[in-house]
């Protein structure tokens, strides 16, 4: 097999640089697009603002307090069948 010899290899580094830059820019664009379109920061903090806030105030993530517009539910002090003392029964989740 005849070996082809290039007289000048000076463009190799530039080509590699351009290709690599294209990949990096693409990754950066996809990441920044995902952050803004899918609202990832908001999705990250939403469980903290709802489930954790409920558990913090009422003792369980699915519990609702007396101040909730929908009325209390799964609240330790409510007089109904669905109330609880320490843990909500798994079947009710």
């Amino acid at each position: 097999m005849k070996k082809i010899r290039f007289r000048c290899n000076s463009g190799q580094a530039t080509t590699e640089y351009v290709l690599l830059s294209a990949v990096l820019i693409m990754v950066y664009l996809v990441a920044s697009q995902a952050l803004s379109d899918r609202d990832i920061p908001k999705k990250l903090i939403e469980p903290i603002k709802t489930s954790f806030a409920n558990a913090y105030q009422n003792g369980n993530p699915i519990a609702r307090g007396y101040e909730d517009p929908l009325g209390p539910s799964m609240h330790p002090r409510i007089e109904e069948d669905g109330n609880f003392r320490i843990f909500v029964h798994p079947e009710l989740r």
């Binding site: 952050l35 803004s36 903290i48 913090y56």
Partner: protein
């Protein structure tokens, strides 16, 4: 092709872009951890304040004053500096409406669903403390309103009647003449 004579700024620029994202998410986890710890501390403060309200005293106002003092000592920078948050970075008290106490975020005494004599609602006597905190220190394009979490700590331990209320009760029911000591 334009030859670039100096590329020293490239790595700095890349570092600056990357560090914003990295720090943004790192600080979120740090802040949430601090928030959980502070939340536990606020629960403790509310509970201790509710205990102070529970114990009997000369008057109802005295019981409420003691509860307020406990909150100030735990969540503010001391009695002489009651308007300043102890750890404003972790959470600051806020009120939905103007309350009787001058401790921002605190509601001491009967809750807004309290109904005297109704067993379903008469339990709501104690202390409630609302506070809020920012989550993302570097906002990363998030709406400032979404970036705030509001938490409520409640402790409804009830309140023993005070000596003053006890005397009033006895004078009303027995006409000032004590015949039976019911423990009041």
């Amino acid at each position: 092709m334009i030859p670039v004579q100096n590329r020293r700024g490239q790595s700095t620029l890349e570092f600056a872009l990357a560090i914003i994202l990295i720090l943004g998410f790192s600080f979120l986890f740090l802040k949430v951890s601090l928030l959980y710890a502070y939340g536990n501390y606020v629960h403790y403060a509310t509970f201790m304040s509710a205990r102070a309200l529970l114990s009997s005293s000369d008057s109802k106002a005295d019981q409420e004053e003691r509860a307020k003092t406990v909150l100030i000592e735990t969540l503010r920078r001391g009695v002489n500096n009651s308007g300043t948050e102890r750890w404003p970075f972790m959470g600051t008290g806020y009120s939905r409406q103007k309350t009787a106490t001058d401790v921002e975020g605190a509601e001491i005494g009967e809750g807004n669903q309290f109904r005297s004599g109704d067993t379903a609602f008469s339990w709501q006597v104690g202390v409630r403390y609302r506070f809020r905190s920012k989550l993302f220190i570097i906002p990363l394009g998030i709406n400032p309103r979404d970036n705030v979490i509001e938490l409520t700590s409640e402790s409804w331990l009830g309140r023993d009647v005070s000596d003053e209320e006890c005397r009033d009760y006895l004078s009303e029911t027995i006409g000032g003449k004590v015949e039976i000591d019911n423990g009041c």
